[in-house]
């Protein structure tokens, strides 16, 4: 990613001018951070108006401003609510809010330093290879090949979920499935972080380090394909590394099911599926997870789904940095309440951040890998 100063993100670039001259506020209503804080400045509109005012010399870059820009989860729902974007794909490309937020963060990091909360995450990434700052992964990797020692055709990339107790269970489910279906896969024992969080938080230098390390390893293993557990890593590999042979676990599982390598039985319960932002909205993958779930359980839909699905509130490191201090997680609460109103007690997710955020509100979630393992025959 190119680092762009606000000066360039500004006035002379189309999106800021378009947003400034429109001011429709349509992005506000469903914005995760607006729902959390009820502050209309924490929206795409707020971002652009700040950028515009900066250009006019009304706003100085300060540490407070940098902290303010940590609010956005880069879920990108605003892109699909924006009046300008509604006019077509061409304008949607211009109004790429998640990208612009990351650019502004990078700029502010350079100008006023990295904000405290983001600093912790970036430090952890640098030192421990994971944003949580955990020393050891919780995942049991017995009898799993190491791509650096043995040649495998597929690398299963775990991401930072391996350092999280809850999500490592879902990871183990995935490993179980892969083992049972006879796939030739391996998992790196010292997996460098994908750098997704570093990039979203505006530390482009750190991202480049991770990118270089990862690409080096991927090349040396000569694996044909990378399958990621997290949609965030999938998106980063695909769009920021420009890798071609990368897929998300849900797509891979669907392929295995189609080939008959995984056989599942119907389990008589109802689940409601929540589209992860980086799998659905950002990558356009909606049908694979749905078809996996509906072959096992009865599938319900949230009233806002697919391109308009709500964010869980965990993007941009909020699942790591937010939870300790935040008293309520309103977006996850909205999701949990809607599920309860429908009489569903489990939310099916395909992203570890969703698991963390929604379970923090006391709602049971199941990763798609857990659902499949449960139903395997």
């Amino acid at each position: 990613m190119e680092v762009m100063g606000l000066n360039e993100v500004m006035l002379n670039r189309d999106h800021v001018k378009l947003c400034m001259e429109c001011r429709c506020h349509l992005c506000r209503e469903m914005c995760t951070q607006y729902i959390e804080t009820r502050n209309s400045v924490n929206t795409a509109y707020g971002t652009y108006i700040i950028a515009f005012a900066y250009q006019l010399g009304l706003i100085e870059p300060t540490r407070e401003l940098a902290e303010h820009f940590l609010y956005c989860t880069t879920c990108g729902l605003c892109k699909y609510r924006c009046t300008v974007s509604l006019k077509g794909a061409f304008y949607r490309k211009i109004m790429d809010v998640p990208k612009h937020v990351a650019e502004i963060r990078a700029f502010l990091n350079e100008k006023v330093g990295i904000p405290y909360k983001a600093g912790i995450i970036l430090d952890n990434l640098r030192k421990f290879n994971n944003p949580q700052g955990t020393l050891k992964a919780f995942v049991n990797l017995e009898n799993v090949k190491d791509p650096l020692n043995e040649k495998v055709s597929i690398i299963f990339y775990m991401g930072y979920s391996a350092y999280d107790r809850r999500n490592s269970k879902a990871l183990e489910a995935a490993i179980d499935i892969l083992k049972n279906s006879g796939v030739d896969f391996g998992i790196l024992r010292k997996e460098p972080n994908s750098g997704d969080l570093a990039l979203r938080l505006g530390d482009v230098g750190l991202f480049e380090i991770f990118k270089e390390r990862n690409l080096e390893i991927f090349e040396s293993t000569k694996a044909e394909r990378i399958v990621t557990f997290s949609p965030h890593d999938f998106y980063t590999f695909k769009n920021d590394y420009k890798l071609k042979n990368v897929s998300h676990i849900s797509v891979f599982l669907k392929e295995l099911m189609d080939e008959g390598k995984i056989k599942v039985r119907k389990i008589g319960y109802r689940v409601i599926y929540k589209d992860p932002c980086y799998l659905g909205r950002h990558s356009g993958i909606f049908n694979e997870p749905r078809s996996i779930i509906s072959s096992i359980a009865e599938l319900e839909e949230f009233s806002a789904n697919r391109y308009l699905a709500l964010c869980c509130g965990g993007g941009s490191g909020h699942d790591v940095m937010g939870l300790e201090k935040k008293k309520i997680n309103r977006v996850a609460k909205i999701l949990a309440n809607e599920a309860k109103e429908r009489g569903v007690d489990t939310i099916a997710v395909a992203c570890p951040s969703c698991t963390t955020m929604i379970e923090s509100e006391g709602m049971r979630t199941k990763n798609i890998t857990e659902i499949v393992r449960e139903a395997m025959v």
Binding site: L58, I59, H68
Partner: protein
């Protein structure tokens, strides 16, 4: 203003309503200086508020008002900031009271058909909640997705489907208001759910269109309706203005009770829609003017009414543009009214602010005014986005909201501040023509912007305006509530212009 007084007030506010509810960072204040309306961005600095407070309850609002009174600092209530007039622009700076945190839906009474909400509940939020029970709150401004229930009282908002359900003033049953001196007053009749009553003065009307000059509305009880079985929009193409105008006249005399409303897009407006996006209004070439109407109601009543209105339009020489076209155009009415991408300057595409001047006109004046308005816009060289005439009343009289749509490139003001003055003169001239034809300055947004506000006195008459000044001074002895609006500063010996 006294800088020390402001510092003291901010400190006291932090004590009273909590530090996290008092925002003083520049990036919180700057965006709250403007609304949706065309804004003189070269003078942005002059309107940046000194602080923003985000009260969480009516009690917090009372504390804010008391502190403001103590230090004589202006306060400006704000929620959506989507108004098409300068209602929320802090002309004299001071404290912006951002009400978005008060976002509870307090009660939904399905038996008596009312809903009670706090000031930070948007039309969409209420609408989503009501839809669970099969009900709607039928207040549909163009900004349906960004407007707020209580703020609509202060602007006396206008609704697209007023023909069937009325405007905000017909839908609000009662409300709670914090007066400029800090008292909480319940403006209600009976137990708070009675709409028609003859007890005492009708105080409700006083606050409609007050633009936050008489107090801060913190709660409102509104009427809700069972969702209509059918929503039937129809768009008609006409070859010339005369026949479309006749059709409009016939529609208003049709006496159809379930009509949500009707309207007309003139030649310039249709040309504007054709500019670069046929996906929105893919009209056959030979149609110059569009007339639309929409029916809301039970299946059987709509079926009968539909036939009648079809006959009227066919007799007037109109061509039905098709079910799909009509549904798309009607569905897109909220999103498509804010199209910054269609601006043109010297044949170039330039992002522009959508300005809509909104006088209320009588049916007979439409043809004459249409000519004059287009002439004035052309004279000043602004991008003419055409006119919309939409029915303006629940009862079916010949009264219309005239939407004069103009594209203005705000960034031009930075290089050439004179352009702003030109726009203000253009607006004033448009309004003077309207006033001479017996129109009202504003059917929907409130005439508080430069270029319009000077004419309020002319429209209301000297005596009525004096009465307004007296009421303002009675309720707000220190002139703290949104000063500078409606030239009400005259009541305190000020000049009334910012």
């Amino acid at each position: 203003m006294d800088r020390i007084a402001i510092e003291k007030a901010i400190e006291e506010l932090k004590e009273r309503i909590g530090e996290h509810n008092v925002l003083t960072s520049m990036f919180e204040r700057v965006p709250r200086a403007m609304a949706h309306c065309v804004f003189p961005i070269h003078k942005w600095r002059e309107y940046i508020p000194d602080a923003v407070v985000t009260p969480e309850s009516t009690e917090d609002v009372v504390e804010v008002v008391k502190v403001a009174n103590k230090y004589k600092i202006p306060i400006v209530p704000r929620s959506g900031g989507s108004g098409l007039s300068d209602g929320v622009v802090p002309l004299k700076r001071g404290i912006v009271v951002d009400l978005l945190k008060m976002n509870k839906i307090l009660e939904i009474d399905l038996e008596n058909c009312t809903a009670t909400v706090e000031a930070g509940v948007s039309l969409d939020e209420l609408g989503r909640e009501l839809l669970k029970y099969g009900y709607i709150y039928p207040d549909y401004p163009a900004s349906r997705h960004s407007a707020f229930v209580c703020a609509r009282i202060a602007t006396n908002g206008w609704s697209y489907i007023c023909g069937r359900y009325g405007h905000t003033e017909d839908l609000v049953v009662g409300f709670e208001v914090v007066l400029p001196t800090g008292e909480i007053v319940q403006i209600r009749r009976g137990g708070g759910k009675i709409m028609k009553s003859s007890t005492g003065y009708n105080l409700k009307s006083l606050f409609f269109g007050s633009q936050g000059t008489l107090g801060i509305i913190t709660k409102a009880t509104v009427e809700i309706f069972p969702a209509p079985e059918v929503e039937c929009p129809a768009y008609w193409g006409f070859k010339n203005f005369e026949s479309a105008y006749k059709a409009l006249g016939a529609l208003q005399k049709s006496g159809v009770a379930c009509a949500g409303g009707w309207g007309l897009y003139d030649e310039k407006r249709v040309e504007f829609y054709r500019r670069d996006l046929p996906v929105y209004m893919d009209l056959p070439e030979n149609f110059k003017v569009v007339v639309f109407w929409h029916l809301y109601g039970n299946e059987d009543e709509v079926e009968v009414a539909r036939k009648r209105l079809f006959r009227i339009c066919e007799n007037a020489g109109g061509t039905f543009l098709g079910k799909e076209f009509s549904e798309n155009a009607w569905f897109g009415r909220h999103e498509t009214s804010v199209p910054p991408i269609h601006g043109r300057k010297n044949g170039m595409v330039v992002p522009m602010v959508w300005v809509m001047e909104d006088p209320a006109v009588n049916y007979t004046e439409i043809p004459k005014l249409k000519e004059s308005w287009h002439r004035i816009i052309a004279k000043y060289g602004f991008d003419d986005w055409g006119l919309l005439f939409a029915s303006n009343r629940k009862s079916k009289q010949g009264e219309y909201l005239a939407g004069i749509m103009i594209g203005v490139d705000e960034t031009e003001f930075l290089e050439n501040p004179k352009r702003w003055d030109e726009y203000v003169s253009c607006r004033r001239e448009l309004m003077l023509v309207a006033l001479d034809a017996g129109c009202s300055l504003s059917a929907a947004h409130g005439p508080v912007e430069e270029g319009k506000v000077e004419l309020v006195k002319k429209e209301l008459g000297d005596e009525a305006f004096k009465l307004m000044l007296k009421i303002k001074k009675l309720l707000d002895p220190n002139n703290i509530m949104n000063p500078g609006k409606f030239m009400l500063d005259l009541a305190y010996g000020g000049d009334g212009i910012e």
